[in-house]
C-alpha cells in the first residue's frame, strides 16, 4: 500500500530525514518509536504534505501513485489520514459542518454523491458510539476550547468518519491520562480491519500495551535503525534508546 524509498527531507535547510525505507501493507499496524528529535513527526508531516518540508531525495508510492506529487488535500482524498499531534482550533466552524464538508469532498473525489443530511447524521451517531465521542462536542466549533484529551479523541472520531486506508497517528497518546488513553486505543482497535493500515508514532511503549503492533521501527537521526516486533518495544521500555545508539555508532566506526 505504502512504499517509502530512501526518503530524504529537510526543513529550513536542516536535514531531518536521511534515507527512510519502509513498506506498509494493508491490514498492518506499524509503530514508529524513537527519541525526541529523531524525525518521527517530520516523517508524518512529509507524508501528509506539509508545506514547510522539502523532499530532497527519494520516493513515496501510495497504491501505485506518486504521493509526493500530490497536494495535501489530494493525499487526504486518496486515503491518507494524519491524526495531528497538536490539532488546531478553528473558531466559528462547527465540528459537524467541518466533517460534512470533508466527507463530501472525499466522496466527490471518488465520484460519489454528497451524503444526505439524514444519512450523514446516522453515520455520525454510529461512529460517535464506536469511538466513544461526546455528542455535546459535535456542535461546538472545531476543537475550540477542547481539552487536550478531547482534541485527541476528536482526531480519532474524524478517523472513524472519514475511514481512510492509511492512518498515521502522530503522538496521539501524548498528554492523555490513562482513561483517555484507553478510550483512544479502543477506538483504534475497533477501526482496525484487513483493508486499513496504521502507523502509530509514539514516544512511549505505554500505548502499545493497548494497541498491539505487527512491527516496531526505531527511528534515530532521520533513519530507521532497527525493525522488530512488539518485543522490541518492551526492550526499549526497559533499556531506553542508548544501547541502540551505541550499537549504531559502533557499526559506523567499524
Amino acid at each position: 500500500m505504502l512504499t517509502i524509498k530512501n526518503l530524504h527531507a529537510e526543513v529550513e535547510g536542516k536535514k531531518i530525514l536521511k534515507g527512510i525505507n519502509l513498506e506498509i501493507n494493508k491490514g498492518e499496524m506499524h509503530a514508529i518509536m524513537g527519541p525526541n528529535g529523531s524525525g518521527k513527526s517530520s516523517l508524518a508531516s512529509v507524508l501528509a504534505g506539509r508545506d514547510s518540508y522539502t523532499v530532497t531525495e527519494g520516493e513515496v508510492w501510495f497504491n501505485g501513485k506518486n504521493l509526493l506529487e500530490m497536494a495535501p488535500e489530494e493525499r487526504a482524498r486518496e486515503g491518507v489520514f494524519l491524526a495531528f499531534q497538536y490539532p488546531v482550533e478553528i473558531p466559528g466552524v462547527s465540528n459537524l459542518n467541518f466533517l460534512k464538508t470533508a466527507l463530501n469532498e472525499i466522496r466527490a473525489y471518488k465520484g460519489l454523491p454528497a451524503l444526505e443530511a439524514r444519512e450523514f447524521l446516522k453515520l455520525t451517531k454510529e461512529k460517535q458510539q464506536l469511538v466513544d465521542f461526546h455528542s455535546n462536542l459535535m456542535n461546538r466549533s472545531l476543537n475550540e476550547g477542547f481539552s487536550g484529551g478531547e482534541k485527541k479523541r476528536n482526531e480519532i472520531f474524524q478517523l472513524a468518519m472519514l475511514n481512510p486506508q492509511l492512518a498515521i497517528l502522530d503522538e496521539t497518546d501524548s498528554g492523555l491520562d490513562i482513561d483517555a488513553l484507553r478510550i483512544v486505543s479502543n477506538g483504534v482497535n475497533k477501526l482496525r480491519d484487513a483493508e486499513k493500515a496504521f502507523v502509530i508514532i509514539t514516544h512511549y511503549q505505554r500505548l502499545l500495551e493497548y494497541i498491539i503492533p505487527d512491527f516496531v521501527h526505531v527511528l534515530y537521526d532521520g533513519r530507521i535503525i532497527r525493525t522488530g516486533t512488539k518485543e522490541l518495544a518492551l526492550e526499549l521500555e526497559e533499556r531506553g534508546y542508548d544501547w541502540l545508539k551505541e550499537e549504531l555508532h559502533l557499526k559506523e566506526s567499524v
Binding site: A48, G49, R50, D51, A71, P72, E73, R75, A76, R77, F81, L82, F84, P87, V88, I90, P91, G92, V93, S94, N97, F98, T101, A102, L103, E105, I106, Y109, S141, Q158, L162
Partner: protein, 481 residues
C-alpha cells in the same frame, strides 16, 4: 503544491464581476460645483422653493467646512470642481409604467441580477433602481400602495408627498452635519423614500439598487425612511459600479425615523468597484447613515456587508431617544488589495432602559487596511442603559492591517457597557489541517470566513444572506496566508 504566495497573487488578480459599463444617452450637467448647478438640479427636478433654499443652506455650510483629519487613512485629493453633479439617462418622454423604461437600462439591471420586470422579480422584494443620479424604476409600487406603504424615488416623493418630506428631511442628518452630508444636501439628485403607516407591517422586503455608470460623476443620493407607530419594515440596498481608472465619489445620506414601537431593519450589501490590485480607481464610499428611535420601544437595526469601494468610510448610527428603544449594528467589512475601510457605528443612549448591540467583523487580506471605529455614549437620563460590543478582526496574509478605535462615554452610573475584541489570523496551520481532511485551500478559507461572519449574515434577509455569502467567497477567493 500551491504555496500561499501564489494564492495571494491569485486573489489580487481576481477580476471585479460587475465592471461593465452601459452605453446610454445621458443628460449631463457641466462639471463644477456652484450655486448655478444647484439651481439647475433643483429646476430639473421641478422642486418647490423650500427645497432649493434647503439645498443652498447645505451649500453654504459646505463652503465653511474642511475635510476631517481624524480618519485612519490618508485623505485622497478629490477635485470636487471637476465632477459632474447631475447625470441622468435621457428620457424620451414621461414614463407611466415599467414597460416604458429604456430596454438598455432594464438589460443593465438584469445583468446585475436585479430584474425590474415584476413577473420576473424576486417574489417578496420590491426594488427601486437608481442609475447614476436618478431612480429609473420602482417595482411593486401599486401593490404596496394598497396597504398605504409609500415606496418611491425621492424625486417623486418631493412632488407627491411634500409635507412628509419637508417634515423629516434633515431631521436626523442635518444639512450641516458633516462636510459630505452638507455636500449631499446641496447636490443630492435622487434616492428612495419610504413611509410605513401606523400599524402596518410592510409585506415585502424593500430594496434600492444603486448603480454608478457615467464617468466623472459623483453619486449623491438620499434615502429617507419613516416607520410610523407600530409599523415594521425591512429595507436593503445594493450597489455596483463599472471599472474605471478614476476614483468616483459616492456621498450618500440615509435617514431613518422610527416612531413608537416601530422597527426598521436596514441592510446593505455594498459591492462598489474596489479599484485594481494596485489601488488604481475605485469608489470613495463616504456615506452618512443615521437613524433615530424617536418613539418608545422602537428599534433600528443596521446590517452591512461591505466588500467593495476603494475607501469605505461610514458609521451607521442610532440615536436612542425613546425610552426602552433598541439599536443594533452588525457589520462585516472586507478589504483586500489596497482597499481601505474605516467604519463602525455610533450609538447614543438618551432614553431610559435603552439597549444596543454592536457586532463588527473585519476581514483584512492583501494590503488592505481595516479600522473599526465606534462610539457608545450614554446620557444622564439613560438609566439602566445597556450596550454589548463585540469587535473581531481576522487577518489573512501578513501585509494587511487591522485597527480598533472604540470610544465609550458614560454619564450615567447605572449604565452597563461591555466591550469584547479579538484578533485572529487564518493560519497556515488551520489551512493545512483542513487540507489534510480533503478540503482544498479555497474551500478552507471560505469555511473559516463563513464561520467567522455567520452571526452577521444571519441578520440579513434570507435571499440576500445567500448572495452575501457567495459575494464573500468570491471576494476572498484564494486569499490564503
Amino acid at each position: 503544491m500551491v504555496n500561499s504566495n501564489e494564492i495571494i497573487d491569485d486573489i489580487a488578480n481576481k477580476e471585479y464581476e460587475f465592471g461593465f459599463s452601459t452605453d446610454i444617452e445621458m443628460d449631463m450637467a457641466p462639471p463644477g460645483l456652484n450655486e448655478d448647478i444647484i439651481r439647475l438640479i433643483s429646476a430639473k427636478k421641478n422642486e418647490p422653493e423650500w427645497l432649493l433654499e434647503w439645498r443652498l443652506k447645505g451649500f453654504a455650510a459646505f463652503k465653511k467646512m474642511q475635510f476631517p483629519k481624524w480618519q485612519h487613512f490618508e485623505m485622497p485629493v478629490i477635485d470636487l470642481q471637476s465632477l459632474c453633479y447631475y447625470a441622468a439617462p435621457r428620457k424620451k418622454k414621461q414614463l407611466n409604467s415599467l414597460d416604458e423604461v429604456d430596454p438598455e437600462l432594464l438589460a443593465t439591471f438584469a445583468k446585475l441580477g436585479i430584474p425590474l420586470n415584476e413577473q420576473k422579480a424576486l417574489s417578496g422584494v420590491a426594488v427601486d433602481a437608481v442609475f447614476d443620479s436618478v431612480s429609473v424604476a420602482t417595482t411593486f409600487k401599486g401593490k404596496l400602495k394598497e396597504m398605504g406603504v409609500i415606496f418611491c424615488s425621492f424625486g417623486e416623493a418631493v412632488q407627491e408627498y411634500p409635507d412628509l418630506v419637508k417634515k423629516y428631511l434633515g431631521s436626523v442628518v442635518p444639512h450641516s452635519d458633516n462636510i459630505f452630508a452638507a455636500l449631499n444636501a446641496a447636490v443630492f439628485s435622487d434616492g428612495s423614500f419610504v413611509y410605513i403607516p401606523k400599524g402596518v407591517r410592510c409585506p415585502m422586503e424593500l430594496s434600492t439598487y444603486f448603480r454608478i455608470n457615467a464617468q466623472n460623476t459623483g453619486q449623491f443620493e438620499r434615502t429617507l425612511i419613516i416607520a410610523d407607530d407600530n409599523s415594521h419594515v425591512s429595507y436593503l440596498e445594493g450597489c455596483t459600479a463599472p471599472m474605471r481608472d478614476e476614483n468616483q465619489l459616492h456621498a450618500a445620506v440615509v435617514e431613518l425615523v422610527a416612531m413608537e414601537h416601530a422597527e426598521i431593519k436596514y441592510s446593505t450589501v455594498q459591492n462598489w468597484y474596489p479599484g485594481d490590485k494596485d489601488g488604481k480607481g475605485g469608489i470613495y464610499n463616504f456615506v452618512t447613515k443615521r437613524g433615530i428611535c424617536k418613539g418608545n420601544a422602537s428599534k433600528i437595526s443596521w446590517t452591512q456587508v461591505e466588500t467593495g469601494s476603494a475607501i469605505t468610510w461610514k458609521y451607521p448610527s442610532v440615536i436612542l431617544q425613546g425610552d426602552y428603544s433598541e439599536g443594533e449594528f452588525y457589520s462585516v467589512a472586507v478589504v483586500r488589495n489596497k482597499q481601505i475601510a474605516d467604519t463602525g457605528t455610533k450609538i447614543h443612549h438618551i432614553g431610559k432602559g435603552t439597549k444596543s448591540r454592536i457586532i463588527s467583523k473585519g476581514i483584512s487580506a492583501g494590503r488592505g487596511d481595516n479600522s473599526y471605529r465606534g462610539l457608545v455614549s450614554v446620557g444622564p437620563r439613560a438609566d439602566n442603559a445597556r450596550n454589548f460590543t463585540q469587535c473581531d478582526s481576522l487577518l489573512i496574509g501578513n501585509q494587511c492591517g487591522s485597527h480598533t478605535f472604540p470610544y465609550i462615554e458614560s454619564r450615567n452610573k447605572t449604565a452597563m457597557i461591555e466591550h469584547e475584541a479579538t484578533t485572529s489570523k487564518i493560519g497556515e496551520d488551520q489551512i493545512f489541517y483542513l487540507n489534510q481532511r480533503g478540503i482544498d485551500s479555497e474551500k478552507a478559507v471560505a469555511l473559516i470566513v463563513n464561520g467567522y461572519v455567520k452571526e452577521v449574515l444571519n441578520q440579513l434577509p434570507m435571499e440576500f444572506a445567500v448572495e452575501a455569502q457567495k459575494l464573500l467567497s468570491i471576494t476572498l477567493e484564494g486569499s490564503v496566508g
